[in-house]
């Protein structure tokens, strides 16, 4: 049996799956404390189930997203090694930013040595100002982390109680400003995450659960709950990922669809292409800043079933930041849910109050039905417009190879729209607007929890090999090694090396048995030619555990 729990902004949902069948569901309101509703939902679905029969619990939580949004995190000092390039002002994202001399180039060659005295001075100042968390980030550190490692050693030597995070361990992709921000957020949230993870583990233990616990990441993969303390930021925006995986599980394998998850305050849009959710081509934007967190390509539209509506003059206005319960559920303001109720697109709430809500918005001679139609047309147009924009972005993803540009031209827009979430009733209206088919599957209200339950562990390894220099780097592990036989190192050796490191990484994170195959995400080979002679080759490989879900939900016939 598997349990999936998604702690959302308004509700916490849980499901219990057994052999692909949904055996129990729960929905409880989310309060201030992130732990309490999670345990309450867990208890609901566990009722009458022997705890030892549960093999797996997967949790999707807004904990880190909320910590970042409300800046409720630990103060962090930054020690940066940028070298030449943009002016340093671009990197001072924090009151305690220390810039030290030293530089690497794109092949990991030292351009300028690290200035160790500057690091020592920074360490003393950081300690004097009372910081305990430090992130050290160097430009091109994924290609050579020597400066980051040396700086960390000096910091620890000078001030032993500092906790030091290293940029190259947080993200292996090239983008120095994003690496700074991602390392900063990792540093800022890791302790709070660890505390939370311990509390969850304790809660599970007290219920007699021996199941393995996982947390869901933005890319729709899971990590073991406690091992994820190394990568807390990866858990942001797991909610939309959970819904998308849920839809994937509710559809037959290989299906292509747009996912519309209409919640209380936002509507999240995502794409499933031939049975696999689309991953964003770049790292996620968190609180309007670019990170290197890999996530699904989700577009969040700030309109949901509970968004407050108002009539100003003749204009109908929907507020993205003001939220009340729908009028038909006892709220004080009209909402899109009331409009859905009036026109029979949803069964929730009191119909009489829904009519009243529409009457509050009516101009002169408008009937409540007419107002509801106007409201839903407006909301539908907003969402349909964003879906169009999402298609365009997908069709115009960056392409750096001829075949990618040619392949992109063959991309056909999906014509199935799957609605889940509280206001799934919007889906048929939006689909009609787009000329697509609509589907609101069974269990649409808890698709997010289903998605969490069926998510699998995803791990990735980036291997960069430079045979001319006889070196290789496994960025995620911070490993820099020498090649045994650079002259005979070919593509096959590269794949073998990357695979071995992926297995090693899985074992280290306590997820060794979750790796039953390897998917090559990127495989670039470049000849290094100097004066018309090939002097070596560069290999860039990214391999990951296969994406996919544990099971499709049975008995839904969609």
């Amino acid at each position: 049996m598997e349990i999936g729990i998604d702690v959302g902004g308004t509700f916490t949902d849980a499901v219990l799956l057994e052999d692909g069948y949904v055996r129990a569901v729960a929905k409880v309101p989310t309060g201030e404390d992130p732990l309490e509703p999670m345990l309450a939902a867990l208890d609901t679905v566990l009722a009458g189930v022997p705890p030892e029969r549960v093999g797996r619990v997967v949790l999707s939580t807004t904990l880190i997203t909320n910590l970042i949004a409300h800046r409720k995190y630990d103060p962090v000092a930054l020690v940066l090694i940028p070298g030449p390039g943009l002016p340093f002002d671009h990197y001072r994202i924090n009151p305690a930013t220390y810039i030290v001399s030293g530089a690497m180039d794109y092949r990991g060659r030292e351009i300028e040595p690290l200035n160790e005295d500057e690091v020592r001075a920074a360490a003393r100042d950081i300690a004097a100002r009372g910081y305990r968390q430090v992130a050290v980030v160097g430009k091109f550190s994924p290609r050579n982390a020597a400066h980051e490692l040396r700086a960390a050693a000096i910091l620890k030597e000078t001030v032993p109680e500092l906790h030091v995070e290293l940029g190259h361990l947080v993200t292996s992709q090239l983008n120095f400003p994003r690496r700074i921000l991602t390392a900063f957020l990792t540093c800022a949230t890791r302790q709070r995450y660890a505390t939370f993870a311990r509390a969850v583990a304790e809660g599970l233990r007290r219920r007699g659960l021996t199941a393995r616990a996982f947390v869901l990441k933005a890319d729709g993969g899971t990590l073991p709950l406690e091992a994820a303390a190394r990568y807390p930021v990866e858990t942001v925006f797991s909610g939309p990922a959970a819904s998308t995986l849920g839809v994937q599980a509710l559809l037959p394998p290989g299906e292509t669809a747009v996912v519309l998850d209409a919640g209380g305050t936002t509507t999240d849009l995502a794409l499933i292409l031939s049975g696999t959710p689309l991953v964003a081509s770049r790292g996620l934007k968190v609180e309007d800043q670019f990170t290197q967190v890999r996530g699904l390509a989700v577009k969040s539209v700030p309109v949901g079933g509970d968004s407050v509506l108002e009539r100003i003059g003749r204009e109908l206005v929907v507020y993205s930041d003001r939220v009340d319960r729908p009028y038909c559920l006892g709220g004080s303001r009209p909402t899109p849910t009331d409009a859905l109720r009036v026109l029979g697109h949803t069964e929730i709430g009191d119909p009489g109050r829904a009519y009243e809500a529409m009457a509050l918005l009516a101009t002169d001679s408008q009937s409540p039905e007419e107002v509801a139609g106007e409201v839903l047309l407006m909301v539908t147009e907003i969402i349909a417009g964003e879906i169009e924009a999402m298609f365009r972005e997908w069709q115009e993803e960056p392409a750096y190879r001829v075949w990618e540009v040619l392949q992109r031209r063959t991309r056909k827009r999906p014509n199935l729209l799957v609605g889940v979430g509280g206001a799934a009733g919007l889906a048929p209206l939006v689909a009609q607007h787009l000329g697509a088919r609509a589907l609101v599957p069974p269990y649409a209200a808890v698709a997010n929890a289903i998605g969490a339950a069926v998510a699998r562990t995803t791990l990735m390894i980036s291997l960069h090999v430079d045979t001319a220099r006889g070196r290789y780097v496994v960025a995620e592990e911070g490993y820099q090694g020498e090649l045994e036989d650079p002259r005979h190192f070919g593509e096959h050796s590269a794949v073998q090396l990357a695979t071995a490191w992926l297995r090693k990484r899985a074992a280290a994170l306590g997820a060794g048995d979750e790796v039953d195959g390897v998917e090559i995400l990127r495989q670039d080979v470049f000849n290094i030619v100097r004066e018309w002679r090939t002097v070596g080759r560069l290999f860039d490989l990214v391999v990951q555990t296969p994406r996919g879900i544990l099971t499709h939900v049975k008995g839904v016939n969609s």
Partner: protein, 450 residues
């Protein structure tokens, strides 16, 4: 402030041959640098995606022998298409300027294309210019070619076009490919002084380059008042370039960009793929977007390490003075004294295609028309690598052709088809956007209309 648009298309799966300078690896380190610096995330820089230019876009500029499809690969269409996407963004006002950081390059591709020369098959800038005129009715355009090699392809295409000013500064043709681009190449009778060549001695530094810019290029641009400036942004004047002998730095290139303020910069050559390109490309992009580029520095560069010899500086001053005088007296020129009084101006050319080892013989005739730039006929012969000999004739009718040139152009096309002297006959009617290719042997007539 509107952003700078960029299309980065490194064509990581395209090369002329595995060890050729124009190979997959060329922009690899540039990618690393641009990505690692996070330049594409800056609010002042917006990345766009390329499209494929159409055969029509190509036919508007080139007579491809025997056909466009024989000379052009998808990679070429994408590089040219990237420029067109950016041209659209510039014209719509979505961006204030743009950088086509793309390969393969194009500035050595001439009007007639028998093969690849100087690493180029089709001319990205020329395709963009004809597109801008057709789609948006742009009038005057200036091309400033800052590649170390003479921009001979662009010059050839616009040699008789008074609306396109081609300025190229480059290492002296006596010391470098393609061996042309001297001060006496100034444009045909209908476009005299619309071609300016500034040959520079080996060893020219940032100081020399900026002397040329300040005292010649910028004043000429001010007088010409172009609606758009396109920069053929080759980067092989860099002091580390393996194929040339100049001493320009990344900083020198960025300062050039900041002064020139091109609407569109298009990457051309530059083969110091590790020591120059990552830094020069970054500096150019920052300069276009108005960011501070003063901290961009090549590894190993120390201020003062590149000094220009007094002889080099003196030589640069002489060239600038000579051209400056010509330019200032441009209204006093008597074309008949230079070009004679014949109804047609003719020039013979021999063109060598270094990459494909093709020798082409050309006779170009342009009608000296008082009312328009005049239609042009080019007869060209070459033996292709497969062994086949081609004798082609192309007729080009300019954008603002007069009625007479328009009619005569079509009549010449029909006559050339009938003579049987040519294997292929082409018509390029830029006035109404009609393009034809006739195969004498199969009697097949291809026809495109815009």
């Amino acid at each position: 402030m509107r952003p700078t648009g960029i299309i980065f298309f490194p064509a990581f799966d395209w090369a002329i041959s595995p060890t050729h300078p124009e190979r997959e690896e060329r922009l690899l380190y540039t990618r690393d640098q641009i990505f690692e610096e996070g330049l594409l995330d800056l609010p002042g820089i917006k990345e766009f995606s390329p499209r494929l230019a159409t055969f029509l876009d190509v036919a508007r500029v080139h007579f491809c022998v025997p056909h466009v499809r024989d000379q052009v690969r998808d990679a070429h269409l994408i590089a040219a298409g990237a420029c067109l996407v950016l041209a659209d963004c510039i014209m719509s006002g979505e961006v204030r300027n743009a950088f086509a950081l793309v390969r393969p390059p194009g500035h050595h591709a001439m009007r007639v294309v028998h093969g690849n020369r100087g690493f180029c098959n089709i001319n990205n800038e020329a395709i963009t210019i004809e597109y801008l005129r057709r789609r948006y009715g742009v009038g005057r355009i200036a091309v400033v070619d800052s590649d170390v090699h003479h921009g001979d392809g662009t010059q050839d295409i616009f040699y008789h076009d008074p609306d396109v000013l081609c300025i190229s500064f480059h290492q002296d043709g006596r010391t470098l490919y393609p061996g042309t681009g001297f001060t006496n190449e100034l444009g045909g009778p209908g476009a005299y002084l619309r071609t300016i060549n500034i040959p520079l001695p080996p060893g020219t530094t940032d100081a020399g380059l900026h002397y040329v810019l300040d005292n010649l290029v910028l004043p000429i641009l001010r007088d010409f008042e172009p609606e758009l400036i396109i920069n053929s942004a080759g980067q092989d004047n860099h002091y580390t370039d393996p194929l040339a002998n100049m001493c320009v730095t990344a900083r020198g290139y960025a300062d050039l960009t900041a002064k020139l303020r091109p609407h569109l910069a298009v990457l051309e050559g530059g083969y110091a793929i590790e020591s120059a390109l990552p830094y020069v490309n970054m500096a150019i992009l920052l300069a276009l977007a108005g960011y501070d580029y003063s901290h961009v520095r090549e590894p190993g560069y120390r201020p003062g390490m590149l000094r220009e010899s007094p002889e080099v500086a003196a030589q640069i001053r002489r060239v600038v003075e000579e051209l400056r005088e010509l330019w200032e007296n441009r209204h006093r020129v008597d074309p008949e004294a230079i070009f004679g009084k014949d109804r047609f101006y003719e020039r013979q050319k021999f063109v060598y295609y270094d990459t494909d080892d093709i020798r082409e013989f050309q006779l170009e005739r342009v009608r000296r028309c008082p009312d328009c730039p005049g239609y042009l006929t080019v007869a060209s012969s070459a033996r292709h690598p497969g062994g086949r000999h081609y004798h082609i004739c192309g007729i080009s009718i300019p954008v603002r052709a007069c009625e007479e040139c328009y009619g005569e152009g079509y009549a010449t096309f029909e006559a050339a088809r009938r003579t049987g002297d040519y294997t292929h006959v082409y018509l390029q009617d830029k006035a109404t956007d009609v393009f034809r290719a006739y195969d004498t042997e199969t009697r097949e007539l291809l026809d495109w209309e815009g």
